[in-house]
């Protein structure tokens, strides 16, 4: 189809570049520089969508980000993007768009019957009905409502594109690159300040793009800015929010104007901008007037029609009428007339004005003292009904296929409001303007009610310079400013033309003036209540074109001034923001970094099955050919430890060097047991409480020297323990001379456990006598392992004779290989976290699932560790009655009576039909085959020996278990001391 409505010349489109696109499957052409909306209009496409509730036909309403109607599904497949505003979507070759929210076709949407039911579907109707019968709500009404909800369809497929974050700092951020913004950026840039100019449009210029006479100044300004090394221009970048301390968020649409992002290019870039000073130059949004039929395709904002003519070289229709309340809108009529559209009538409630006279001189029919009382047509506008102001009745119809409406201009105060500024009412403009700034910010140009390009530019230049000066720069010579007369923007106060038929205040969500009045009648009279009751201003445009009109209708109903009624609170986002952009690169596999021990590659080569431990990856187990299942692997590994020897990577444990003259004193205060008595070269198990007396962490601590300790923490608590220590040093005991160094990454460590551990260690380690006499349980010493400086610990978690060797991480692989080689004759096996868990449960050692932030030392049978003398964290509050209550659940061992029946962590322990505890850890035993576990059970000791039930109703399991001592395996610790 030809571009029937395209002008032969003019505007900012490149007619030499033809782009083809489809809308609802039909092929059309447009040009480089078009938005989808401009190209659709150029092809005479008027009907582009359906409204939310009544499914009324809708056309293109605006030429910018404020668009409430022309929402389409852009692209297809996994790249489908619902609710895309055709008015900002840049045309590219091959673009495919689909209309949304209709059943049947766009032209014949049978959901439009909702419109007939409108008397019963008014604001909030659902709150007052659908209650009977009660069960119908869930089964009938609610599914019905939910099915009807929403606008566009999500693809449901993973987004194939990627996004990136960017961080910026500047002296002056200028938002908006209209006359005011360009001038502000130039004036600020001239001082040498670092300036960022962000503009949501793909062209800089704002309203200048509609002023061919000022094109020279626009280009000169852009060239000047491009020549300034400290100025960054960010077109296609929407500043979406103004946050605390001068931080603003923005999204740059890097590749949305391309069929798909080129290789290595993000689709969008999410900017966090920290600005010393901000100049808001965001312009103004033209507003609607509520009159019956004000939503019919063909009705559009006057400024939009002007923009289509001047910027895109597109006539919005053959015959136009203008309905305006101020002079500034008249330029639309002139622009369309220049473009060859017939001006059927200018309808203006005012008596006379300068613009009216010019219009008459130009030969237009002007209807002063008149308003539009209705529109004629079906899916497209055919005529406009005109009546005298206040006459109420239906007037004469004038044929027109486009009705340009302008109820005045609302300064785009969104960002100013978000920054914390109160808004103030401008009685001349009948609109809210920014009040006193609350952050380092100023508004300039149309967004603070300074209208006319010349005036806006001058205002912007002043603001830009003031901002730079406030940021510490010396003022620079003035920049040249464009000269242009300012049309009068002060409107006649007309918010609504009352009459028969729906007059919309929110055309996306189908909120009518009557809905607002109904809300008021029912007591939802505050603007925030009315908003929520009617959904006014809650659509994707957030009330940009009709928000104030709804407020004015409410004001009239309340018999109060609009200024008093106010607007609903402004919030991020000024325009909807792609989810992926804010998510950035930290998604999917990269949601959080993967932390790897130095032995990661070694485990991988061994075929480890991984498990997550916080952000660490740890080997769960190492499957081998012949293992029937995972349990077989785990048991094989555990059996190797019990019977021979195994090696396990324990590098993830937190390691902290505590050093200084007060190190021992400090450890005595942060641990529940004593460390000052520990000998150099010895390790001790330690228990750390929180201040509330609950167990926080455990681990072994070694005294390396009189003033030097090596503390280990559990993997999960490494970070929190470090912070806990730092906090108490800073806040409670600043007098202690202690330094803390995290050496978690410096040292890799492996545990070598099993009856043959000594042989293996002896073969790997030099410079140390590892006999039981010379190197007993809990001994620690430096040594060489495969020639590498290392440290050997005689400690055991498994309950077997065991050592830990720690070595600088870069040597871990070679030591590991040496250990495997030395262990080969003994049948050594690497074992993973699962086998580690099995071994410690058999042995009755507590771990994370018992140290779960709810248990006390007594609960875990560790009450004896609490020292009797001296202050330590948790000492006092551990004595509260609820903490020492003898009936608290206590640690017990559990054994499935039928060895074949599985018990699981998370089962409850049932005594006399009531839950008296739960299973915290469960596994299969290798020393005495069958399912075993640890649990916390009320009056645990008294139940030892009895059989109770482990209940797992979620999985339909009830398993008899015998309560046993948690320390069944080698209770005398003979093996670890062997």
């Amino acid at each position: 189809m030809s571009q029937r409505f395209r002008l032969p010349s003019g505007g900012h489109v490149d007619r030499s570049k033809r782009l083809s696109f489809t809308f609802d499957g039909r092929a059309y052409d447009g040009h480089h520089g078009d938005t989808l909306a401009a190209a659709l209009l150029a092809n005479g496409v008027r009907l582009v969508g359906r409204s939310f509730k009544y499914h009324r036909p809708r056309g293109i309403f605006s030429a910018g980000a404020e668009e409430p109607n022309a929402l389409v599904e852009l692209r297809d497949g996994a790249r489908r993007e619902p609710n895309t505003r055709a008015t900002v979507a840049e045309l590219f070759d091959g673009l495919a768009a689909t209309s949304q929210n209709h059943r049947g076709s766009l032209a014949f949407d049978w959901m439009a019957v909702n419109g007939l039911l409108a008397p019963w579907l008014g604001a909030g109707f659902y709150y007052k009905t659908f209650m009977w019968p009660a069960s119908f709500w869930e089964r009938v009404y609610e599914p019905m409502i939910r099915k009807a909800a929403g606008l566009g369809r999500a693809s449901g497929l993973p987004d194939p594109d990627h996004y990136e974050a960017a961080h910026a700092h500047c002296d002056v951020l200028v938002v908006g690159a209209g006359a005011a913004g360009l001038a502000a950026a130039r004036a600020a840039g001239a001082t040498g300040a670092r300036v960022i100019l962000a503009e949501q449009d793909f062209l800089l210029g704002g309203d200048l793009l509609n002023e061919p006479g000022l094109e020279v100044w626009r280009q000169e300004s852009i060239a000047a800015l491009e020549a300034m090394p400290e100025v960054t221009l960010l077109p296609r970048t929407t500043v979406f929010g103004f946050y605390d301390q001068g931080v603003l968020g923005a999204v740059e649409r890097v590749a949305d104007h391309l069929p798909q992002p080129p290789a290595h290019t993000a689709r969008q870039r999410y900017w966090t901008i920290r600005a010393k000073e901000v100049v808001l130059a965001t312009g103004a949004h033209e507003r609607i007037i509520a009159f019956p039929g004000n939503d019919r395709p063909g009705v559009m904002l006057a400024g939009a029609a002007r923009t289509y003519a001047r910027r895109y070289g597109v006539r919005a229709g053959e015959t136009a009428a203008l309905f305006a309340t101020q002079d500034a809108a008249y330029d639309a009529a002139f622009a369309l007339a220049e473009a060859g559209t017939r001006i059927a009538a200018i309808i203006d409630p005012r008596g006379d004005s300068a613009a009216m006279q010019r219009a008459r001189e130009a030969g237009f029919t002007v209807k002063p003292g008149c308003v539009v009382t209705g529109t004629v047509g079906g899916n497209a506008l055919r005529g406009v009904e005109i009546g005298a102001v206040g006459s109420g009745g239906r007037g004469d119809a004038v044929p027109a296929d486009v009705l340009m409406v302008s109820g005045g201009w609302n300064p785009a105060v969104h960002l100013a409001s978000m920054s914390g500024s109160a808004l103030s009412w401008d009685e001349a403009l009948l609109a809210f303007v920014p009040g006193a700034a609350s952050q380092h910010e100023r508004s300039a140009g149309a967004c603070r009610g300074v209208n006319g390009i010349g005036a806006a530019a001058a205002d912007g230049a002043a603001a830009g310079q003031a901002a730079a000066v406030a940021a510490g720069f010396a003022a620079a010579p003035a920049i040249t400013l464009p000269e242009a007369p300012a049309p009068d923007h002060r409107p006649y106060e007309l918010w609504e033309v009352k009459g028969r038929g729906k007059a919309f205040v929110d055309i996306q969500d189908d909120v009518t003036a009557n809905d607002i009045r109904l809300a008021h009648r029912e007591g939802y009279s505050h603007i925030e209540h009315a908003k929520r009751y009617t959904t006014h201003a809650m659509g994707t445009d957030q009330g940009k074109v009709g928000g104030l009109v709804g407020a004015a209708v409410l004001a009239e109903a309340r018999e109060e001034p609009v200024a008093k009624v106010g607007l609903p609170r402004f919030r991020p986002y000024t325009s909807p923001v792609a989810w992926g952009a804010i998510a950035g690169g930290e998604v999917g596999q990269h949601f959080q970094p993967v932390r790897r021990t130095a032995l990661h590659g070694v485990h991988e080569a061994l075929g480890a099955v991984w498990m997550d431990a916080g952000i660490w990856k740890r080997p769960a187990y190492y499957p081998k050919a012949g293992d029937a299942d995972a349990w077989a692997s785990v048991k094989r590994e555990a059996r190797a430890v019990r019977e021979r020897v195994g090696v396990c990577d324990v590098s993830t444990l937190g390691k902290i060097v505590v050093e200084g003259p007060d190190a021992a004193t400090f450890l005595d205060r942060v641990y529940a047991n004593t460390f000052s008595t520990l000998q150099v070269g010895r390790a001790r198990y330690g228990l750390m409480l929180r201040e509330d007396g609950i167990v926080f962490d455990d681990g072994t601590t070694t005294r390396l020297g009189h003033d030097r300790f090596f503390v280990t923490t559990t993997t999960a608590q490494a970070g929190p323990v470090m912070q806990h220590l730092e906090f108490h040093l800073a806040s409670a005991w600043p007098d202690l001379d202690v330094s803390l160094a995290s050496v978690t990454d410096q040292w890799a460590a492996m545990s070598i456990a099993g009856p043959k551990a000594r042989e293996v260690v002896a073969a790997v380690v030099t410079g140390l006598d590892v006999s039981n006499e010379a190197f007993p349980f809990m001994a620690v010493a430096d040594c060489l392992a495969t020639g590498v400086p290392a440290r050997l610990f005689r400690i055991s978690f498994s309950g077997e004779l065991a050592y830990e060797i720690a070595m600088p991480a870069g040597y871990a692989a070679q030591v590991w290989r040496a250990v495997l080689a030395a262990g080969a004759p003994h049948g050594i096996e690497p074992y993973g976290v699962e086998a580690l868990g099995l071994l410690r449960i058999e042995k009755g050692h507590v771990a994370g699932s018992e140290l779960n932030g709810q248990t006390t030392a007594q609960d875990l049978g560790l009450g004896r560790m609490l020292k009797k003398k001296g202050d330590f964290i948790g000492r006092v509050l551990a004595q509260r009655p609820g903490m020492t209550d003898p009936s608290r659940p206590r640690l017990v061992g559990l054994r499935s009576v039928d060895p074949a029946r599985q018990i699981r962590a998370g089962c409850h322990l049932i005594v006399d039909g009531r839950s008296q505890g739960w299973i915290s850890s469960a596994t299969q035993s290798v020393v005495d085959p069958g399912w075993i576990g640890l649990g916390l059970l009320r009056d645990g000791e008294t139940h030892i020996g009895s059989v109770i039930v482990a209940a797992n109703p979620l999985m339909g399991e009830e398993v008899p278990v015998k309560v046993v001592s948690p320390h069944g395996y080698d209770a005398e610790n003979l093996r670890v001391r062997a």
Binding site: A165, H167, R194, V594, A598, W616, V657, D737, S742, Q746
Partner: protein
């Protein structure tokens, strides 16, 4: 017995070109470093400063700064704490030197294996870093001889600018070096990355 060479945490990374083609790629390398953390004892600031001057010829740098002397660079990391870094020699050598120099005035912890340094250089370095680095690296705010710790892509990173090219040395926890490098490759992909 002389110790064999340790395995570098990024040993497995493919060298050569990553990301887009282009003539101003980000140049990335993994210099082997000895790194030692020095923590002053209470009231020993003057003694430490003197020891640093005597042993290393360095005037202990203040917050945000680094200073070099005789092949060793001191980077301020916390009040009373510095990292000493030097090209790698033999295992533990720098730590031993430091322990001797500061025996009475500071605690010393060898971090040569615990920290991994990634050097980044090139005209696009600042822009690439801004894809995750939240601090201002503009010449007016940062520069050669400056250093700052800041999280990048959820990973703690010590950013140290070494020259005006600009070149940076990024020091991260060794166990997180690999995901950090992944981030850097993504950030640099639009410019191209050349790993030496």
């Amino acid at each position: 017995m002389s110790a064999p060479e340790p395995v570098h945490p990024l040993a497995g990374v493919a060298r050569g070109r990553h990301g887009a083609a282009g003539d101003a790629p980000l140049r990335v390398s993994f210099p082997a470093r000895d790194i030692v953390q020095v923590m002053v004892r209470r009231g020993q600031d003057a003694a430490l400063a003197a020891a640093m001057r005597t042993a290393f010829g360095i005037d202990a740098p203040g917050p945000g700064h680094t200073a070099s002397g005789s092949g060793v660079t001191a980077i301020w990391i916390q009040p009373g704490q510095w990292l000493l870094t030097a090209p790698r020699t033999t295992e533990g050598a720098l730590a031993v030197r430091a322990a001797e120099a500061f025996s009475t005035c500071a605690a010393v912890a060898d971090q040569s294996h615990g920290r991994t340094t990634i050097a980044v250089s090139g005209a696009s370095a600042r822009e690439a870093l801004s894809r995750g680095c939240r601090i201002d690296l503009h010449p007016r705010a940062f520069g050669p001889g400056r250093a700052a710790s800041t999280p990048i892509a959820q990973i703690g990173c010590l950013v140290h600018q070494t020259d005006a090219a600009p070149s940076f040395e990024l020091t991260v926890f060794s166990t997180l070096a690999e995901p950090f490098l992944h981030w850097l490759l993504e950030a640099g992909a639009p410019f191209g990355v050349e790993i030496a």
